[in-house]
Symmetry: C2
């Protein structure tokens, strides 16, 4: 088995059945000497490793086999399967590197299309790409990264195959509320049960992303819906349709109808605006024809604490969007603050319903209590607990792969008692140099602390920030960094030049087949042309050919026949 043979053929293997189709007779006689050729699976795949692509296509299932399959390649462990992690994994040269992805989620979510899937304009699987597939050469373990031993270069992984929250974007530390010693005891038990294990790395790529920030507002984590993952989109889709179906019951009062069909979106950035736009579309194009009497009862409202929505867009584009929304009956309430979100109807409501799950109440500081059917929370990023807890103190540095930087005070390699990972004071993101390598500084007080760089540990995506820059935490930045890093590793030329972000502009869909596009050079487009650009851009970027076929197919079918409204 040649480890260096690269699999270049991307044609699917024809199922063995095709050959049979051409050669066998198809009518079974009572006593046929002709027996079906039915390959038992064990014999059929005893030499799976020798198929096109050789050893790279095998999935190692023990660390030993992973080690064996490594041959003389470096192992790059990638934590996370989002824009940054998935892009790095796919683009690393498998002849040079053995890529191993560790993530609680076995797929990459194509976030720009999530809003479309959350109302049924597209199906959920068209907005995701599996990490593990027949074609990819990437190894994968389903689990959470629990800690890193920088000296011995290992990552501790907590398996997560049956995690009930998979598919939902995380909002709270899954070990929140446990003391340090509680967690240590738990880890010892998990290790005995085989649910915790260590994985050695040569290079580590930290792309764990961020959690959704709820600002400690009571009830939001429990009662709001988020929109960062496919499971979130599915919950939203079911909720919208359930609200209409409940409002359609003959025993629902008009007041409860208004409550159920009051949809609130908190956060006026592109995610919130795009979701509101998609919601407007499904109501206008489908639900208004299926439930025409309910339409007068509905309302869509976008809340934001800032002065205006879509702050990254120029004023004229943002105004265009707000104008369009107002004409569509979508209410935009800027400078509004959420105090609380709880189950049940507002106090003083005449509703007979004391069923706590029927609806929710938003408590807005400027407005008081508002009964709603659904709240989509699309604002705020919270630093990942892994970054906050596991990437902190580094008692001992690895023997190789550390680059010490000149510091103001006398350079003293052995002086500092310990090192800490540098974090951004405001966001808590990991600070990296312009080669995306994690920066350390010596513990202790003082301005000119000695600094160092871990040459084998990289951090990118939402959880990291390049020192001296203020690149936004967006998919565009994450995927550019990831492509740059993969290229540098493949060519072994990371010392040559650092990463710089090329601003390709921002886009947002605003409903009714209209969009906004703002190029970095100042070129602005709005309306139908921007919409065509928006759909085209996402189509070319969508990762697999499979989805490049399915996405326009669904756009067409849903336009022709309407969106499906079944819940299951």
């Amino acid at each position: 088995m040649q480890a260096t043979t690269r699999c270049t053929s991307y044609l699917p293997q024809l199922p063995s059945g095709i050959h049979e189709l051409l050669s066998r007779s198809t009518r079974a006689s009572t006593r046929s000497s002709h027996r079906p050729r039915w390959p038992p699976l064990t014999a059929h795949f005893s030499h799976a490793g020798l198929c096109a692509g050789g050893v790279q296509q095998q999935r190692s299932i023990t660390i030993k086999q992973l080690d064996h399959g490594r041959v003389d390649r470096e192992r790059v462990v990638i934590l996370g399967s989002g824009w940054a992690g998935y892009t790095v994994a796919r683009q690393l040269d498998s002849r040079k590197y053995q890529a191993v992805v560790v993530s609680p989620r076995s797929y990459f979510a194509f976030t720009p299309l999530l809003a479309s899937t959350s109302v049924g304009t597209l199906e959920f699987r068209t907005a995701l790409e599996p990490v593990r597939s027949k074609r990819s050469k990437v190894n994968y373990f389903q689990g959470w990264a629990d800690g890193v031993d920088f000296k011995n270069k290992t990552v501790t992984i907590e398996e997560a195959v049956d995690d009930p929250t998979q598919g939902l974007s995380p909002t709270l530390d899954r070990h929140a509320g446990k003391t340090g010693s509680q967690r240590e005891r738990e880890k010892a038990t998990e290790a005995k049960k085989g649910r915790l294990f260590d994985l050695a790395y040569d290079k580590l790529v930290i792309t764990v992303g961020c959690y959704s920030q709820t600002f400690g507002i009571p009830g939001v984590k429990e009662n709001a819906l988020f929109l960062k993952d496919v499971g979130d989109a599915r919950k939203i889709r079911n909720r919208i349709l359930a609200c209409f179906e409940a409002a359609a019951l003959p025993t629902t009062s008009d007041e409860m109808r208004r409550t159920l069909l009051n949809f609130a979106i908190v956060g006026g950035g592109p995610t919130g605006i795009e979701f509101s736009a998609e919601l407007y579309d499904i109501i206008k194009e489908d639900l208004a024809r299926i439930y025409p009497e309910l339409i007068p009862f509905h309302q869509i409202t976008v809340y934001d604490v800032a002065d205006k929505v879509l702050p990254m867009f120029d004023a004229n584009l943002a105004d265009y969007a707000m104008d369009a929304f107002r004409r569509g009956g979508i209410s935009i309430k800027t400078k509004h603050h959420v105090n609380e979100l709880r189950k049940g109807p507002p106090a003083g409501s005449a509703s007979k319903v004391d069923d706590q799950n029927a609806c929710f109440t938003l408590n807005i500081k400027e407005q008081g209590e508002v009964g709603v059917g659904m709240v989509v929370w699309s604002t705020g990023l919270m630093m990942n607990p892994f970054v906050a807890k596991a990437l902190r103190d580094i008692p001992e540095l690895p023997e190789a792969g550390v680059k010490f930087l000149e510091s103001g005070s006398a350079q003293d390699k052995s002086g500092p008692t310990g090192w800490v990972v540098q974090k951004d004071a405001k966001t808590g993101s990991v600070i990296t140099d312009d080669r995306l390598r994690v920066k350390l500084e010596a513990e202790g007080v003082g301005e000119d602390k000695p600094q160092a760089i871990l040459e084998d540990v990289f951090a990118l995506g939402d959880c990291a920030i390049l020192e001296g820059t203020s690149y936004p935490a967006t998919a565009q930045v994450a995927s550019q960094k990831a492509e740059w890093l993969a290229k540098r590793l493949n060519r072994d030329d990371i010392e040559q030049s650092g990463f710089t972000w090329k601003n390709l502009g921002v886009m947002a869909y605003i409903g009714n087949w209209n969009a906004l596009f703002q190029g970095s050079g100042g070129g602005n487009i709005s309306g139908r042309a921007a919409w065509i650009l928006w759909r085209g851009a996402y189509l070319t970027k969508s990762v697999s050919i499979r989805n490049k076929i399915l996405i326009p197919m669904y756009w067409f079918i849903n336009w022709l026949f309407g969106r499906d409204i079944s819940r299951f």
Copy 2:
């Protein structure tokens, strides 16, 4: 608004945007006098009722509006949205009848394709059709039928919009364990809360179907997976993939791998066999390439208490199938009985895993304890609790619509103290005459009890049986009955002749692109030709054009790129 105008146009309305696309400029200037035409939804649909099709397309949301929309049509209330109920609803002439479907499930599940969706050969929505859609003229309430007042001709409905079990086939009476008086008090509360309401009917069509029968075997209801609805298929799909992903973890022992990848199917009828075949396909075509080292650990086993599987097929066809399965490594264990199904590994297992949810143990009478990753239960029908409880005694008959039959003893209309719905002694199905009308008999002891027919109450599908026949409880019988009934009602000629079933044969997919077909005349086909027939038949029968496009699209895409294995 003409109530008698029938909507004949099936072309979709072009979104208003198309006209805009042709006429508007697309570049926004800083101060544009050109403003986006954004129709507020309320104004846009104020005359929704006047679109093509007139009043029939409105969905009435109060009983009053339903009554108002009735005009001079008879109201046909259909309980259930399966093969029988959905077919009747769609085929009733909306000029003569106002069809109202009451079902806990807002869609019709195309059951022959469920096995394909349960492994990802097709997507779930390709195997369902919504009851409520832009095109259908059918009214719908999401709820359970709770009781019938035959005298006053009303049905009591318990709303079920947020029922957490929706999408899953029912296995137990949702009010099991409650005494009669407990249930009465509960109903009084529900009625106050608006969750229980009455619906009047002119004709009633009872098509509530059956539940899955678990024969009281401990643990089956809680731990087995079923395959009668789309939610079931989704759970199965996620479970298969989770078993492989868990087996792929480096800390899983070989013994646990064998347990996790041991898939048991209980029931050797077409459903069980087809599911086993689909499972074989996904393992051979996709999972064997993604997890090649795991394949030696897997096993598929079909258990049945009978002597042989596929009893409705001729011996040579059944043998062909069993032969094919054996060659594929699928084990068929006839004359085996399940004693119990519980969580956790078998007793005496060396597995470190004490996690009760990791795997299951099947206790087979002839074999002892067997560790399994998943059990699919595809055998046995249990009579629907609605039929068992609500269709029983009839204290008072309606004043019209009852046909008394001659009986052996002197005919005495006022004599019998009460009437009961006739039920089949063995299955508990409702007995109907050959016009599918529910049969009653007088209470009391004796052979020649007076009999009567409720002329306005029909029962068909799995929950009913035509007297003197032994038609199987299949989709074919249910849909033929439903089409016959709808035709008779539309033409008002039900007295002319009774229903007879035309046996169109049986088909079953047996994996690896092979199938069986047995025509009623004795024409048997097996192998590839039967497979083509099998796929063709389901394609032509699949109800909507939307799915006629999507289903072959998915067959093609999954053949070319492999099935998706993501879970969310």
